[in-house]
Amino acid sequence: MKIRVIFFGTLRKSFSDHDPVYGMEVEIPEGSTVGDLIAHMNLPAKKFGMVSMDGHLVKAGNLLEENAVVRVFQPIFGG
């Protein structure tokens, strides 16, 4: 199935075909989880923090849905 993934922060630098607005389309087997996606994208664990799918935060075990928009963020610190 196809999903749309938008990487935030410097994560997007890892993908040459990542569009700043659209993100990128990713083909992944049905039944894959968020954790599977992260593994599929080959991202080091310390590089990402929060992941949302269609506007809601998701965990590594959540199932991905076809045509979902997945946003992947970096760890933050603020004030």
Partner: protein
């Protein structure tokens, strides 16, 4: 080590050696402890009894990176309580290098008088008549004063809002490029400066009489390790230089904690249009600057120069809080409009947080539609024009709510909350409610502790552990603001040896031992002084509450309310 006492009533300038009780203090610790000791808590914040104190952080002027933080303190005309607002730029390092630990502005000029306080390269101070600058906006003023006195001076000043003594008025200071775009925004301290009759401080750069370090090699070794940790951290070393604090838009919106349309929702449909990533791409495409140095001795370079579609300077630096207050909070998804509003606030001398939230309250009351950026620009311009509505807006969200008889006003102790909705991050409810500063995010930022994905261990929708997290953060931040380390350089403190490095540097400056217990005691001492002042000014536990909208209106998309009970709130300062 010296204090300048400037009496605006009779124009006298007195130099004092740092006296008992104030040694080893700087920044917020110095301003708050002095205000608690010397300012009558029931005084008129805009009267002669109030004191406006400028104090560099204790580590300002030392070799440590990212320490040009100036604390400005007074009794706040916005909250009626004690206030410390800190700001970057160059002035803190400039004052510290001249060996000046505090400038204390007392008394009040005759109505209509206005002065500039000039401090030269010898560290000598003079009050200079400034009536010709009456009503001048900050960009023109800074340029004029730099032309008159030289580029090698920092300028710290008020705009028309401060002169009008409006309670959302900021104190602006010049950045590394000499623009007055850095703001001590919170608490209406610009109004106190205006009431004193002080238009600007002009401080010579390049002083060479900074307070000595008791153990230079030990200090330098710890400072080097600290700088290495800040550079090595992914967020302060890579992410902030590229996107600035605006990078927070994406994750905070994803968490449903981005207050939108006067906090009716926790997610903004146009968040992607105003994200740090979009902003940085736009700036680069137009020929502006990211990875821009805003403050003395900064190695993070989180600042930026936002330019228009023709490459012309609009503002610096566009930050997360302003993108929220002038963006999501007013339903505006246009970065160009946000940048224009940011510039106007800096130029008129207004806190972007309070002003944006004031606009949001007006829109919520039906005065204008959410998303109408042009209406927002006109509203802010009215402040400088001194129209009836402009005066109301310039007095912040509570004044606007009162004017429209509208009760959805997200303030605590009269000061607006910041860009983290407390219903989606319960720990921020505790900080907003209990901080002696009023609604304030920097006083105890517990967002990370509440987001598991970022290493947090708390359930962000539950009350459990939130009071303790906020209390610990508030104590820690009171100490951080006293030594004057930039918030974004706290990655150095978070490193394995980070706190030890800071203790070593404080000890190496003091010439006596300093450790974790001393750090905690310092934070507690400052908080206790602030709390004591507020109690004597008439505050009670009933003031440590959020407005009812946060307890009664579920916030989409998670549809949660604040669940911290009053009894739990009241244990925050059980120490």
């Amino acid at each position: 080590m010296k204090f300048f006492k400037i009496n605006m009533t009779n124009g006298t300038i007195e130099t004092q050696q740092v006296s008992d009780g104030y040694e080893y203090l700087g920044g917020r610790g110095l301003t708050s402890i002095m205000i608690n000791a010397e300012v009558p808590p029931d005084c008129d914040p805009l009267g002669p009894e109030n004191k406006l104190i400028f104090a560099p952080g204790y580590l300002s002027g030392t070799p440590l990176i990212n320490t040009s933080r100036l604390s400005i303190g007074a009794k706040s005309p916005l909250t009626g309580g004690i206030k410390e607002s800190n700001v970057g730029g160059t002035i803190s390092a400039d004052l510290a290098r001249l060996g000046i630990n505090a400038i204390i502005i007392e008394g009040q000029v005759q109505q209509g008088d206005l002065y500039v306080l000039k401090i030269d390269s010898n560290g000598d101070a003079a009050l200079i008549d400034a009536k010709q600058f009456k009503g001048m906006r900050t960009y023109e003023l800074a340029a004029t004063l730099k032309e008159k006195y030289g580029d090698d001076n920092s300028v710290t000043c008020i705009g028309p809002a401060g002169e009008l003594q409006l309670t959302a008025a900021s104190i602006q200071t010049t950045d590394a490029d000499g623009r007055p775009c850095r703001a001590a925004g919170r608490g209406g301290l610009g109004a106190v400066m205006g009431a004193k009759g002080l238009k600007a401080l002009v401080v010579s750069m390049g002083g060479k009489t900074a307070d000595s370090l008791a153990d230079v090699p030990a200090f330098k070794e710890a400072a080097k390790a600290y700088a290495r940790d800040v550079k090595a951290d992914e967020f302060s070393g890579e992410v902030l230089p590229e996107f600035g604090s605006a990078v927070l838009v994406g994750p905070i919106n994803a968490a449903g904690a981005f207050p939108t349309c006067n906090a009716k929702m926790g997610q903004f449909e146009h968040a992607d249009k105003i994200s740090g990533e979009t902003m940085a791409a736009m700036i680069k495409e137009r020929g502006g600057k990211t990875t821009h140095k805003g403050c003395s001795q900064c190695i993070i370079n989180c600042s930026n120069e936002f330019v228009d579609s023709e490459g012309k300077y609009v503002t610096s630096s566009l930050e997360y809080e302003t993108i929220w207050s002038m963006g999501g909070m007013i339903g505006n998804g246009d970065l160009d409009t946000i940048a224009k509003l940011d510039f106007l606030c800096d130029d008129i001398g207004l806190d972007t947080i309070s002003t944006g939230v004031a606009i949001a309250v007006a829109m919520d009351a039906g005065f204008k539609n959410f998303g109408d950026g042009q209406a927002a620009i006109k509203m802010v311009e009215e402040v400088a024009q001194g129209t009836e509505f402009g005066i109301i807006l310039g007095n912040g969200p509570a004044a606007v709510g009162k004017h429209f008889n509208h009760d959805r006003v997200p303030v605590v102790k009269g000061q607006s909350i910041a860009a983290y909705d407390p219903r989606a991050i319960q720990g921020m409810a505790v900080t907003y409610a209990t901080s002696p500063m009023g609604g304030d995010h920097t006083a105890g930022w517990v967002v990370g502790e509440n987001l598991e994905d970022f290493g947090g261990t708390l359930d962000r929708f539950s009350a459990e552990g939130q009071v303790e997290a906020s209390r610990n953060s508030q104590i820690h931040m009171a100490a951080v603001d006293t030594v004057g380390i930039c918030d974004f350089a706290q990655s150095g403190l978070a490193a394995p040896e980070g706190k030890e490095n800071v203790y070593k540097m404080v000890a190496a400056k003091m010439g006596k031992s300093f450790g974790k217990d001393d750090w905690d005691a310092l934070g507690l001492r400052v908080l206790k002084a602030e709390r004591e002042f507020n109690r004597r000014a008439g505050f009670t536990n009933a003031d440590d509450r959020l407005p009812k909208m946060f307890y009664e209106e579920p916030l989409p998309p998670h549809n949660k309310v604040v669940v911290i009970s009053d009894e739990e709130m009241d244990t925050t300062f059980d120490f």
